[in-house]
């Protein structure tokens, strides 16, 4: 999954691209390869993006969570057979682990196809090549999942093995007799291993035939048991028989490899289909898990949604026992977003970016309904990306350079999400810069949402103005000064709804209420209220 030019790294970080990538990571090596090649759809690819999102949503509807998990479980431990397919197609004789991989590959595909029975939106992965290779290797099925170059593959192999087993048994018997004779002559239970020690004190008479001294010490002798003539001849016969087995085994491998080589194109097609299906299954699981719907992919620059969620934050809130309040936005070109601190302006921008990102990859989006264009670039400007650029520049200078980079690229279809751009300069200049930015975006026919605390920008630029409703009243003061409790109290009092407004409400004092909630002393807060009213 590569963003290419859709996002720069700072925007990707703010919009939770890594989170999305992790949520969509496939389980098999085939899926990994397909996933690595996924690119965002670009303007002009709308039908393909729409089709992909619809296909994923259809799979999510047709296959329940248990079936999706069963498919993932089948794919999870699947070895990678593509190396074997490549080697066979280039004339290499495969080894037994390769046949094991290929057999597992073929049987897993058939198992997955069985799990897809009844799914009208799913295309079977198996093909003639998979069936042919599976049939060829089936004689080697050992147990549930193993592979063995069994006797059944070739009559000559079976007889060669019988011969070597016979010769080995004869050799073992001869050596056993030699060993037993020596042990008996030495008065021991056994002579174990190639070398053994004889204590001089226990040696009666001379050494028995076949026992050779390797080293002498004052109290013992280190000895070895030599092969007698009969054993030596048996050893030679065994080695000859083993060589015949090796030859027969290699003949079988060559035959099987030829079949794999002949079917390489079909096997590669099945591997590609398996990889694509793995990725689709992960996306379908994502769709089910996060209750996503396919967005309508629009040809004009537009981004609208109902009850959308920024999933990385939703997951974080859920872990803390809190709930994400879904958002509604209608962005047809450019707009200004205002609202109190902690009111969710940044999250609204992140949600816009996340929905556009999902749509760009042909994924269903986490919203009840959505319409999105495909963008050439989604760019984040302002708060949230400072840490991405170090150096000696002021925050304002950094922002200006980032803006310059965005404008210089001049992506034909741009979505810009600006969070308090120019907040670090004087308010009247900041306002002027924001107005100028909105004018430029209009010239570029770009889509953009600019969040700010500055008043009067939307009216001056002549763009739509959205606002977070904000605090419903003064938040309940928590019993302790714990930040967690303060945030919970704030969340209870905050109306995160975003609505289009006609002007700026300069009488609101949500920031001062927030200051009080976060534990600044009452006298300080009262001074602030007094100053506001003057």
């Amino acid at each position: 999954l590569k963003t290419l030019h859709l996002l720069d790294s700072a925007t990707a970080a703010v919009l939770g691209f890594e989170w999305l990538k992790t949520a969509l990571t496939p389980v098999s090596p085939y899926g990994d390869r397909h996933f690595e090649r996924l690119r965002p759809f670009a303007p002009g690819d709308e039908p393909a993006a729409q089709s992909r999102a619809n296909a994923i949503a259809a799979i999510a509807v047709e296959l329940d969570a248990a079936r999706l998990e069963a498919i993932r479980a089948a794919m999870r431990n699947l070895p990678d057979a593509q190396g074997a397919i490549a080697r066979a197609s280039m004339g290499d004789v495969l080894d037994d682990p390769n046949f094991f991989e290929l057999l597992r590959f073929c049987t897993t595909i058939e198992r997955i196809d069985e799990l897809l029975v009844g799914c009208t939106g799913c295309v079977p992965i198996s093909n003639h090549a998979v069936r042919a290779v599976k049939a060829a290797l089936a004689l080697g099925s050992a147990g549930e999942a193993g592979f063995y170059l069994a006797d059944a593959f070739d009559r000559d192999l079976a007889s060669a093995r019988e011969c070597v087993a016979r010769e080995q048994a004869e050799l073992d018997a001869l050596r056993g007799r030699e060993s037993a004779r020596a042990a008996q002559a030495l008065g021991r239970d056994e002579v174990a291993g190639d070398e053994f020690i004889l204590m001089r004190a226990e040696l009666r008479g001379s050494l028995p035939t076949g026992v050779r001294v390797l080293r002498e010490a004052p109290t013992y002798l280190l000895c070895a048991l030599e092969y007698g003539d009969a054993a030596l001849a048996a050893l030679q016969r065994r080695d000859t028989a083993a060589a015949a087995v090796a030859e027969a085994e290699e003949r079988v491998r060559t035959g099987l490899t030829e079949i794999v080589g002949q079917q390489a194109a079909g096997l590669n097609a099945a591997a590609a289909a398996l990889g694509e299906f793995d990725v689709l299954v992960c996306a379908a699981r994502f769709t089910q898990h996060y209750d996503c719907t396919p967005a309508t992919i629009a040809k004009k620059p537009i981004l609208t949604f109902d009850r959308a969620r920024f999933l990385p934050l939703e997951a974080e809130l859920a872990a803390a026992g809190r709930r994400f309040v879904p958002l509604d936005v209608e962005l047809h070109d450019t707009a200004v977003l205002t609202g109190p601190n902690m009111g969710g302006k940044s999250v609204c921008l992140q949600t816009c970016g996340f929905i556009a990102l999902c749509a760009a990859f042909g994924l269903p989006v986490p919203a009840a309904r959505a319409q999105s264009a495909l963008f050439d670039q989604v760019a984040w400007l302002g708060t949230g990306r400072e840490a991405q650029i170090g150096g000696l520049l002021s925050s304002f200078a950094r922002e200006v350079l980032e803006l310059r980079a965005i404008l210089e690229r001049a992506a034909p279809r741009l979505l810009i999400l600006a969070d308090e751009f120019a907040r670090t300069t004087t308010p009247h200049e900041g306002r002027a810069l924001m107005v100028a930015l909105l004018m430029r975006l209009r010239e570029l026919a770009a889509c953009g949402m600019l969040a700010t605390h500055l008043a009067g920008i939307a009216a001056t630029a002549g763009v739509r103005h959205f606002a977070v409703r904000g605090l419903r009243g003064i938040p309940r003061q928590p019993p302790t000064q714990g930040v967690g409790e303060a945030l919970a109290s704030l969340a209870d009092a905050m109306d995160y709804t975003i609505a289009e407004v006609s002007g700026d409400d300069v009488t609101r004092a949500d920031a001062i209420a927030l200051t009080a909630l976060l534990g600044i002393d009452r006298e300080f807060v009262n001074d602030a209220y007094r100053a506001l009213s003057q």
Partner: protein
């Protein structure tokens, strides 16, 4: 005296599902002990699993024996039954589980980490009645808390004198046999290893509480320092190991010890039976 059978019986009598053979150094007879125990297991008709943590270790393996090797170390002939390809990597490639179909010399390759050793041992144990591992002291932690039994080998190759060899074996046995912590007695729980520096400061402070480490391999002391620390401190562990016997190799390239005297001295010093596969003797 059938040393392999005696060692196998000793392990099985304690309910051990695996036998881990470790040594005080190189060429101290580890592989010889493994061969003897394996031969005994095979002759007893036990479903046996084999693993080796030594690099590129060749062993004669009988049919139906399960073993672990790496893809790059598996010869083309005779063919074996491939049971599973593991994702654990070794320098010779990914590890695989195989079952021998015919008797032959096979190259064993083991996992490079203690967690890998545990995973491999558990996987083999799932299909075998006894698992025999040609082990390594630095990876014996894989057995901590399990039902595995340990045989410690030592020999002439790693010491100049018989006394030195006996002391080496006794020190390793003492370290591996650190008892389980007494939960009712006061204790100091160590995070990480008990090093010589830590042990020295605890001795200087005349510490009488139990010094608790995760498992015996966390005692990073050897030689005289190890003996002193274990004598002066109450070192205990959470996950003990089970050492059931010792085995000796009295021959080295440069010198050799008297087998009986060596075995008797080791048995006396460790309180465990001492076996000599080469001489077919047992002491204690």
């Amino acid at each position: 005296m059938r040393v392999g059978i005696e060692l196998l019986d000793l392990a099985r009598a304690t309910g051990a599902g695996s036998i881990f053979v470790v040594g005080t150094g190189r060429n101290v007879g580890k592989t010889t002990v493994v061969r003897a125990v394996y031969a005994a297991a095979w002759q007893s008709g036990l479903r046996t699993g084999l693993a080796s943590l030594n690099p590129r270790h060749r062993l004669w393996i009988e049919p139906q024996t399960l073993f672990v090797t790496a893809r790059g170390a598996l010869g083309r002939t005779p063919a074996v039954e491939i049971l599973e390809l593991s994702r654990v990597q070794s320098p010779a490639g990914a590890l695989l589980f195989a079952r021998a179909a015919s008797a032959a010399l096979y190259e064993l390759v083991g996992p490079p980490t203690a967690s890998g050793v545990r995973a491999v041992t558990e996987r083999l144990a799932a299909c075998a009645e006894i698992v025999i591992v040609d082990g390594a002291v630095d990876r014996v932690a894989a057995l901590a808390g399990s039902n595995g039994a340990i045989v410690v080998t030592g020999g002439a190759a790693s010491a100049a004198t018989i006394q030195e060899a006996v002391a080496e074996i006794a020190a390793l046995v003492a370290r591996l046999r650190i008892p389980r912590v007494d939960e009712t007695a006061p204790a100091i729980e160590l995070e990480g290893a008990l090093t010589a520096t830590r042990a020295a400061s605890l001795i200087a402070a005349e510490e009488t509480r139990q010094i608790v480490v995760r498992d015996p391999t966390q005692v990073a002391l050897s030689g005289r320092a190890g003996t002193t620390a274990l004598a002066r401190l109450k070192v205990r562990c959470r996950r003990p190991l089970r050492v059931i016997a010792t085995a000796i190799a009295s021959i080295a390239a440069e010198h050799s010890f008297d087998p009986r005297a060596f075995a008797n001295a080791v048995a006396d010093a460790t309180g465990l039976p001492a076996f000599d596969v080469y001489a077919g003797v047992r002491a204690a």
